[in-house]
Symmetry: C2
Subunit: 406 residues, 2 copies
């Protein structure tokens, strides 16, 4: 009898994470798995034996199509990190007991680089106890900051949302033609991939954003104010895109300068929100220009109504490829994308050792950014444009997009 499959989702939500789940379910059933189990709330749910039989839930084409269009993680999520000492912890023993009980032969985890750490540890533990269970990671992160892979599922949809939002914000923010600076804050603590996507708004019908600031480069406040002052000599209304994670030369985040100390919550955790607010206030004070800040906030990761079809299809393929790899006997691997051809864009899936991906980050190449003009270079545009192409039309009901709920 064929072994069963189990799949979980972990880390922050994206618009594409459920498309990868659909890929795992479809290819799992196609490959002959009797049950495709879904752990609810990732690995921490599994530890409490919280799981569902996905084959009985996603059991027709309509539900499958809705699943692809559903934002956030259908199976819920967690931020649980397995113990570093794989031999001395009960958690591993318990997980494998549950997996044996469910007769699971193939384990898939859809998540970012923290989640790939789970795959790394579980596959190591499996090796240590000579278990046959295969562990494969399916990457997802809007941040696009995983190494080895050309890009990550989830990035294309977030980038499409950001480019579209900027294309709508720019005519809105410049409609009066008066002295007015709009600072738009975009996610990405250390890597500027999402902020860079604001450059994709530029087109024959849109002048584009006036300045772009990535977290990969030291931010200088005086230089910034001076750049805005000079630009305003020619053009009164400006739109500026900044990463939430921009830092001064001394390492302090710009958002830390807000007097309300909103960056620290009651638990002492630092949130990076407030960068655009601080910059807008600074420009208002220093240049006596009107200013406004806009934080794209979580909308950039959950706006599935404007998902990129390329992204959704690739995320689905990543799910399928993970299943194929596991059935081919692979374990301790992560699905990666390889750009086979740039023009026309063509992408294929491959595998990387999870140890080469987990807990590592990839940044925007320095040479893709024009530091003087604060704009993205053609290399970035050529890289990112194909990833936002195509639309997966929502299924509307009563005026709003339909989703599927566990």
């Amino acid at each position: 009898m064929n072994k069963n499959i189990i799949v979980g989702q972990s880390g922050g939500p994206t618009s594409a994470i459920n498309s990868s789940l659909a890929g795992v379910i479809d290819m799992g059933i196609k490959s002959g798995a009797e049950h495709v189990y879904g752990m609810v709330k990732g690995i921490s749910g599994l530890l409490n034996e919280e799981y569902v039989d996905l084959g009985t839930i996603i059991n027709d084409d309509e539900k499958r199509e809705l699943l692809k269009r559903t934002p956030s993680s259908f199976l819920k999520s967690c931020r649980h990190r397995l113990p570093d000492d794989i031999t001395g912890s009960d958690e591993y023993r318990k997980i494998f007991e549950i997996l044996e009980k469910l007769d699971v032969g193939y384990f898939f985890y859809i998540g970012g680089n923290d989640s790939m750490d789970t795959i790394l540890k579980l596959s190591k533990y499996a090796e240590s106890i000579s278990s046959d269970i295969k562990f494969i990671g399916v990457p997802k992160t809007i941040d696009n900051d995983l190494t080895i892979t050309d890009h990550t599922p989830g990035y294309g949809s977030a980038a499409k949302y950001i480019a579209t939002a900027m294309k709508e914000i720019i005519p809105d923010a410049t409609v009066y033609g008066t002295s007015y600076v709009t600072v738009v804050e975009i996610m990405g603590r250390d890597a500027g991939w999402l902020t860079a996507a604001s450059a994709l708004a530029k087109s024959e019908d849109c002048e584009g954003v006036d300045l772009i600031y990535l977290p990969e480069f030291v931010f200088d406040m005086d230089e910034f104010v001076e750049k805005v002052r000079k630009l305003q000599e020619k053009k009164k209304s400006l739109v500026i895109a900044v990463s939430e994670g921009i830092k001064l030369a001394d390492g302090r985040y710009v958002c830390e300068f807000n007097p309300d100390d909103s960056s620290l919550d009651a638990f002492g955790h630092r949130s990076l929100t407030g960068t655009s607010r601080f910059l807008a206030h600074t420009l208002n004070r220093e240049l006596k220009t009107k200013s406004r800040y806009i934080e794209l906030s979580t909308l950039q990761r959950c706006a599935s109504h404007i998902a990129s079809l390329t992204d959704i299809n690739e995320a689905y393929e990543a799910g399928c490829s993970a299943v194929k790899a596991a059935y081919n006997g692979e374990t301790g691997k992560v699905v990666v994308f390889e750009r086979v051809s740039a023009k026309p864009y063509e992408c294929s899936t491959g595998l990387a050792d999870v140890a080469d991906i987990a807990n590592k980050e990839r940044y925007v190449p320095k040479e893709w950014y024009d530091h003087d003009k604060c704009q993205m270079m053609k290399e970035y545009i050529d890289y990112a444009r194909p990833l936002i192409e195509g639309e997966l039309m929502p299924v509307y009901k009563n005026g709003v997009p339909r989703h599927i709920k566990l």
Copy 2:
């Protein structure tokens, strides 16, 4: 020879304002106007003789369709208030000189209640000098706060965006199932129509927002904290919708309590941003719950990629009706909507005296709000649902929606 037409746009942008413009252009040309002029930057542009010949710009179906899909004001905007003393000011004399020079017989102004003030004053001045020029207002405002009309063009699209965004934010914000409150801030200083639209997210696949706070009702901070505490006993992750304009019993805006005083800019102008931020921090401090704020900001008025087809079509009809009314000899009027039938929804256009609309506001009826549960009643849902129905699909190019630019 037929007289010419001139049309302008004024006040804050919406997703539907350009559809009304398309209606004026189409019906103007159909009615035999040789020129349909567009004032650039509204009445203040006209005073500088800034205008374009719209018939030569919007000259094919493709451009007309793009115009309907273009956010913000195609003709740019202004916030110019004509002098209250219509006899003692040179501005009126100058405007009429320019109108005579352009052989204008019909003047249309698309805008909110401030802009209707312009129609009121110009029609009064015309009467005082026995001018034959007809002045008709075409309403637009996402705020839905005009009197007499059933609703305003622009509201349906903004409401659709808000409902869709909430439907995406809710699964995102509750994905971990941990103690987490997300406070979403929605526009509307005095009228809660937009915040109410968050209630439209609720459906079989979405539990909806947990609490809704409108500016029509006094906000009590202790009561709010207590309500959240009680709700969290049953459900850890909550999503709350608040209007930017909620006020305490003593009349102070909630956003004024932010320590960084961000509500006052260098010019001393008050912006209402910061309400959700203050509430999220308060909950974090008082209840030791994690919290996040999301400001929908200007996206709610410019997200034309998810415009309501009902809204876009009605906005177009409002433009057409304005032209028909002027050709019928009407002046000093505003186009209004009348709901002919609730189920099935049917709406027709009519005319109201501009004096009855200009400078007045309409609020959410108190009986449409359940003050105890902080939820909208069925009456509101039945009223608003038809307004967000239908989709006007964007024309995509290179992965982003195409617009048309002056």
